[in-house]
């Protein structure tokens, strides 16, 4: 792990990977999109709205996956002072927040034709809303200090406290939701998923992951440069 701790080495590996990741992302998303919109059947019950699932579910997967990624990076930052961990956490957060937001919006767009309402306090949607707020807090804390290193470390603590709380929040919201469950049981997915729908879903999921990896590297490069800019500006101020 510490072989990659050197930013110069990271940059070399990242730059080598970037073209491949870009190609992979575009290819996966392209194929996934084709399958989602053309090569897969409409649902027996939900009709064409089931196609929203092919962007809604991968977004939800990414929102969760990225938060775990940030939590791991935060742990690396606080425990081992890994220099790239902070950069990774800062770069990843807006991507995760965006996917959480997309999950909510596409969920609403799916919900309105299906359940007749734009918002439902369903346990999963509510938990995703809370996750979205956790992301916003993380991003706000990152940028709240004059000295960026303070922001890195405070956000790392917040991310870890958040990740401990996520199962608790999920449990509470599930509990609360079943207590207030309306008569009709709302199911976000349909019955067991058919292979003709599973494959587009998985390929879109992979495409979203590759998109994250590609964009993460771009944003990490920016953040590393920003750190260098800060250091150089400070040095020049001192020498002036």
């Amino acid at each position: 792990m510490h072989r990659f701790a050197n930013p110069a080495r990271f940059l070399r590996i990242a730059n080598a990977l970037l073209p491949w990741l870009t190609v992979g992302t575009v290819a996966c998303l392209g194929i996934g999109l084709y399958m989602a919109l053309f090569a897969s059947p409409p649902d027996y019950q939900q009709g064409e709205t089931v196609r929203i699932m092919y962007v809604h579910v991968p977004s939800a997967w990414m929102a969760l996956f990225i938060y775990v990624f940030i939590a791991i990076a935060s742990a690396c930052s606080l425990i081992w002072r890994h220099p790239l961990a902070d950069v990774a956490a800062k770069a990843a957060s807006p991507i995760g927040a965006g996917f959480a937001f997309l999950t909510l919006v596409t969920g609403s767009l799916w919900g309105e034709p299906m359940w007749g309402t734009w918002w439902v306090w369903d346990a999963r949607l509510t938990s995703m809303l809370v996750l979205f707020f956790l992301y916003l807090g993380h991003m706000a804390l990152m940028g709240a200090f004059e000295e960026q290193s303070r922001g890195y470390r405070a956000a790392a603590v917040l991310a870890l406290v958040g990740v401990i709380n996520i199962p608790i929040i999920k449990f509470s919201v599930d509990w609360w939701s079943t207590l207030h469950q309306p008569a009709s049981v709302i199911r976000l997915d349909g019955p067991t998923i058919d292979p003709s729908m599973l494959w587009p879903l998985l390929i879109m999921g992979l495409g979203f992951k590759l998109f994250f990896a590609t964009l993460l590297i771009v944003r990490m490069k920016s953040e590393l440069m920003a750190a260098r800019v800060r250091a150089l500006s400070l040095a020049q101020l001192r020498n002036a």
């Binding site: 701790a5 050197n6 930013p7 110069a8 940059l11 999109l33 919109l37 053309f38 409409p42 009709g47 064409e48 709205t49 196609r51 929203i52 962007v55 809604h56 977004s59 002072r81 220099p83 807006p94 991507i95 965006g98 937001f101 997309l102 919006v105 596409t106 767009l109 799916w110 309105e112 034709p113 000295e147 960026q148 290193s149 998109f211 964009l215 771009v218 944003r219 490069k221 920016s222 590393l224 440069m225 920003a226 750190a227 260098r228 800019v229 800060r230 250091a231 150089l232 500006s233 400070l234 040095a235 020049q236």
Partner: protein
């Protein structure tokens, strides 16, 4: 084609879903690339201003500059 665009009557839900997803991905990508080029420019300007560090201060063999600069960044940014 008509039928495809209509999405069985659900067009107003399906197309905005895909549209917003695409919008988010493209917008974030463009924004990130823009920031990257901005930082590259800032870095180039700042590196041009600093005095050249070609001459070694002692009789040690000179290490290649691209190697030392980023590692120094790691130390500088982790100690800042």
């Amino acid at each position: 084609m008509e039928e495809f665009l209509n999405m069985g009557g659900y067009a107003v839900y399906v197309w905005p879903s895909y549209g917003l997803t695409a919008l988010f991905m493209i917008a974030l990508t463009l924004s990130s690339l823009h920031t990257l080029s901005k930082r590259k420019r800032q870095l180039a300007e700042l590196e041009a201003k600093r005095p050249p560090r070609r001459a070694p201060r002692t009789a040690q063999p000179q290490t290649a500059q691209p190697q030392t600069a980023p590692t120094q960044t790691a130390q500088e940014s982790s100690s800042s």
